[in-house]
Amino acid sequence: MTAPAWLLQPEVGLCPCGCIGKRRKGSFVARTLAGATGVLRQAIFSEDVAAGPGLLQRLDPRVKLVSMVGLLVVVALVHSLPILAGAYVATVALAVASGLSVGFFIKRVWLFIPIFTGIVVLPATLSVVTPGDVLLPLWHWHGHTHGVTEQGLHGAGIIVTRVATSISLVVLLTLTTPWVRLLAALRALGVPKIFVLIIGMAYRYLFLLLDAVEDMYTARKARTLTGDAGRDGTRAGRRFVAAGAGTLFGKAHQLSEEIHQAMTARGYSGNARTLSGFRLRGADLAFALVAAALAAAILVADYKVGR
């Protein structure tokens, strides 16, 4: 093996002008990937939170799961903004009682609301969608003033608060229950084994594939000197995402084949059996009763306010 001459000479940079590039912000691709990685990394830390001491952490996961699903249904039925807001405050109080950081909890819930709900709800605040008393005039059309209406804002407020409360309940459940216990609770409540097995494996391998994505991106970034900004950068970014998705699909396929072989090698033939065991205690029953009473109180209050 003979190395070419250029490989044996030191080089400062490959650009003939000797420049060393400009500092630029990362591209959309970079930020999205970094964001997704960050969010999933948080999931690892949430396992530590779930193992910590706190009100909800001490409860039987089955009781928590049933109570939270019940409260989710109740929240979906409520039409009063003050009651929904009260329910949201109650979830924050539960987070505090469970030893969660309030800032982290609120951020986790409100991170997704502007993205998923805001886009849907924003047009509903306008008089063209929800007619009513215009609070913020935006334009005139045939002598009528159009803009954000009081009724539109009220409707949007209900939806946003309902979504925030619902997400808070789910976040409370997932942050205070170790993933393994949550899956076991699903199984104990009669969710089919194969379904629980697939969710468990999807969650487990998500991290592995995410690591693969991060490695691919880091490897590309280490060889990219000009940054990702500009039209060429965006085009290159799109090409990278497409190629990366293809590579990842191939890796995932290969991995799935090996996992199936590993399962078969240990006797799996389509009906997975798992270890799991729970025991209900007084505190669990007390929590279930409090949750049921709260759900009933919310429904009654909403009915009275609505009337």
């Binding site: 590993a262 090698a265 997975a272 270890l275």
Partner: protein, 255 residues
């Protein structure tokens, strides 16, 4: 010596185009420790998968414990359970093998699938966790484990089934020296307990500690030697032709 595995003229090709085994014949006796040696892509891992009934030859026969192993036969639940309980396979990629949400569930998986009741499986899991010194990892999720820890969990998940035969694919690959030596000691203990071990490797340094006999594969996917470990390691020309050492490498042999 009772024959555990016997392969006769096995051929296997991936996608019917890329050959992995070309007329492989092999016999493994009870209590033997056999190393499959060869360069990358020579067919070692494929043979291990065939020996574990995960792949099936295009031609030739494979007999385990005196019974021919075929895809049809493994569909029979009784035969399948009997075979799976007697043969354990530790994959090279621990990520593929450690798929359960927690270490405890992972280790219990095999026993539970093979019909052991939960209490007995849980008791076995505790014993294996203690034996491999991983009791502190029991409730961890696999993504929280290091490479060495995953390998220990993968081995535990096979040992818990107490199989007669253990297949290891590149057991010492990508392990730090401490974990490597831990594994060598474990294999020695298993050999002492009369287990039959077949391992695929190209790590010649650890070989004298690991195997009684070596089966060498050529890069043409054929067996070119089947002899005691010392004899194979002394045959420099054989190791060179099988791409197990380089002409400029000095083979370090333990004495």
């Amino acid at each position: 010596m009772t024959t555990v595995f016997e392969c006769k003229d096995l051929h296997y090709a991936y996608l019917e185009r890329f050959p992995a085994l070309d007329g492989v014949s092999l016999r493994v006796g009870q209590g033997e420790t056999v190393a499959l040696l060869g360069a990358n892509g020579c067919g070692k891992s494929t043979l291990l998968k065939l020996l574990d009934g995960l792949l099936f030859g295009d031609r030739g026969t494979f007999t385990a414990f005196g019974e021919e192993v075929t895809e049809d036969k493994l569909e029979d639940e009784q035969f399948n359970h009997g075979f799976r309980a007697r043969v354990g396979f530790v994959f090279q990629n621990s990520d593929a093998q450690v798929f359960s949400p927690s270490v405890r569930e992972e280790i219990a998986f095999g026993c539970l699938q093979l019909g052991l009741d939960r209490a007995s499986a849980a008791a076995r899991v505790e014993d294996v966790l203690a034996m491999l010194d991983i009791a502190d990892l029991a409730d961890r999720a696999p993504f929280q484990l290091s490479g060495g820890q995953k390998k220990r969990v993968a081995i535990a998940s096979v040992l818990v089934m107490n199989p007669e035969v253990l297949l290891f694919d590149e057991p010492t690959a990508a392990l730090d020296p401490r974990t490597q030596f831990w594994l060598i000691e474990l294999l020695e203990q298993l050999r002492g307990a009369g287990k039959t071990i077949v391992l695929a490797t190209h790590d010649l340094d650890t070989l004298p500690d690991l195997a009684d006999r070596c089966v060498v594969f050529s890069e043409q996917h054929r067996i070119v030697a089947d002899a005691p470990t010392a004899q194979v390691l002394d045959d420099r020309d054989l190791l060179l032709s099988a791409n197990l050492i380089h002409g400029r490498a000095s083979l370090l042999r333990k004495t």
